[in-house]
Subunit: 341 residues, 2 copies
């Protein structure tokens, strides 16, 4: 089907969803009610919508570097599928309640089935890439290897801090975790993938540009999570990060700014598992965090990082031939930093 | 390093372990105590030993079909790594206590870290294969795609029966699950991979031969789990399958053979979660199962399936040029069906 040239056109969203649903449904050997259900569970998160910002960033980057975005569909869909299986496992790991406005998968079917569903989605992601016969396949496969490994490293840092009850990790350690866990697969990888698909080599300056935009995205997300009126389109529960004991830049700043007594109190309050922390403790934590201006400072950091990232991005894409697509990239990363997952 | 021609030589075991540990350690960007720990966690299960029967089956099959087993090392190591990440996730999914004589990973570090460690091992498995530049790479990648998907389907069947409290699944449904969950990656895939590496196409008769041997392996495992004196080298807790409420051929037979009253009683007893079933209920279940001769019948099934599989295997390998390696395959599948994981 002929596709519109603009990667921001909603028709691309449908095409990416279709590509994901198709690969998740393949390879079943005849009707089998239990296995049909298995396919449906794998399709659950991809069906819940989402803006496919990462996938569309792949399409836009491909066009910016002079390639054909239709060529990039399997790769963009694979990156979206990566996001989806990671979310299934993340929701288990964080014991999240909701995902995109509905209960998290493991809250519907239990941890065992959900972990296995995520594994099946993971292998389907590789199928999308391996089934390609394009000249860029090898470079793309290697980009995915690095991206997934890096993301798992970031997730390990985040989870192990929670596991060990370490709150005062400091801004640099926190941002190093964000670079790995979020910024790499959200911004750096899509841009680099576009360059490979267009037949070139990603300019090295893309990486710092993407990391700065990725940090802005995550920190903005941290901030949004603590604004009660963010609700609606945001799709995550208010203050869920506090219920889950997640490290955020807001917390790193609060621990720097609070008096030792208040910092101790915040640590004590947050050091409860999700099922025992309760609303009152979360509200006390919120009061302490608000009292020291940590939310505002994190917001300023996000804005600065977003601006810096945009400047670097323009520089990195200065000679890219697809100027309309460069503008689309800027709009997409703007969307990322100002909106949600 | 020059390797002995015999895939049964213990030197191959070390080489496969080394290949696994090497890929799990790669791609870290400088010293980082938390990430060094992440690598160690990924190396935990591969370091716990094991006989690498599946990996050595790949080596032997390669030699049998006329190839060089040294060529097959990354593939054999990848298949072992597959087994290892699947075990990390399986242990979470079954809430197993032990693995190879030590506590299961999630019992040491919690479910969140363990799930993520398994994901990192999964991507390292793909790295071993994608990094290869051999002509068989594509065929091998596709074999892994199919094998992992099939294994996840089998795991889904097994887990969803537990989740829904369905005990009377019947022999055929049970064996269909075993074909997917165990027999495919344990016997069929190693044999087929050897054929691809040697440059040929796997003979279609390999699949039924491998499935029959794989069934024998799993059912023997089910039986061993209920023999108190199997202990020692077996490496799994006695009657662990009953504690975990797993479906086995022994149970399928017992539900066919017991009087309706006894079958109801068995169902009631087994329908308790692992942390509440308790030793007395497990002992009652064991008495009921023993009373109807289900263990012996399952054992006879395993022996018959093993014999049938061996016959079919000999037939499938009749024209394979590496006769010594064919003998090694027979010894390895013998080992599989008569011993443990």
């Amino acid at each position: 089907m002929p596709m519109p040239p603009d990667p921001l056109d909603p028709a691309w969203n449908e095409r990416l969803t279709e590509a994901m649903l198709a690969v998740l449904g393949r390879a079943s050997d005849g009707p089998h009610p239990d296995l049909d259900r298995f396919v449906e569970l794998q399709r659950d998160y991809p069906r819940r919508g989402g803006k496919h910002l990462r996938g569309r960033l792949v399409l836009a980057a491909t066009a910016a570097f002079g390639g054909d975005p239709s060529d990039a569909v399997p790769v963009a869909a694979a990156l979206e599928l990566f996001q989806n299986w990671v979310l299934v496992h993340d929701d288990v790991e964080d014991d999240s309640e909701e995902r995109r406005g509905a209960p998290a998968l493991h809250r519907q079917v239990g941890i065992p089935l959900a972990v296995n569903v995520g594994d099946a989605m993971h292998v389907a992601m590789w199928r999308l890439l391996i089934d390609s016969d394009r000249p860029w396949r090898d470079a793309v496969l290697r980009e995915f290897l690095t991206t997934i490994r890096t993301t798992a490293e970031g997730q390990h840092l985040d989870l192990s801090w929670v596991h060990e009850g370490r709150f005062g990790v400091g801004r640099d350690a926190y941002l190093g975790m964000v670079d790995r866990k979020t910024a790499t697969y959200t911004v750096v990888a899509p841009l680099r993938l576009g360059a490979w698909i267009a037949g070139g080599e990603p300019p090295p300056t893309l990486t710092p540009a993407g990391l700065a935009r990725g940090r802005a995205f995550q920190v903005r997300d941290d901030v949004l999570n603590l604004l009660p009126d963010a609700g609606g389109g945001y799709g995550k529960e208010f203050a869920g990060d506090l219920y889950e004991g997640k490290r955020t830049l807001v917390l790193a700043i609060a621990f720097e700014r609070l008096t030792p007594g208040d910092a101790d109190r915040l640590r004590t309050v947050l050091d409860h598992p999700r099922d025992r922390i309760g609303r009152e403790r979360v509200e006390e934590a919120l009061r302490l965090i608000r009292s020291c201006g940590a939310i505002e400072e994190a917001q300023r950091f996000a804005e600065h990082s977003a601006e810096q990232g945009l400047e670097r991005l323009r520089e990195a894409l200065r000679d890219a031939p697809g100027r309309d697509a460069v503008a689309a990239i800027e709009r997409l990363v703007e969307d990322l930093a100002s909106r949600a997952r």
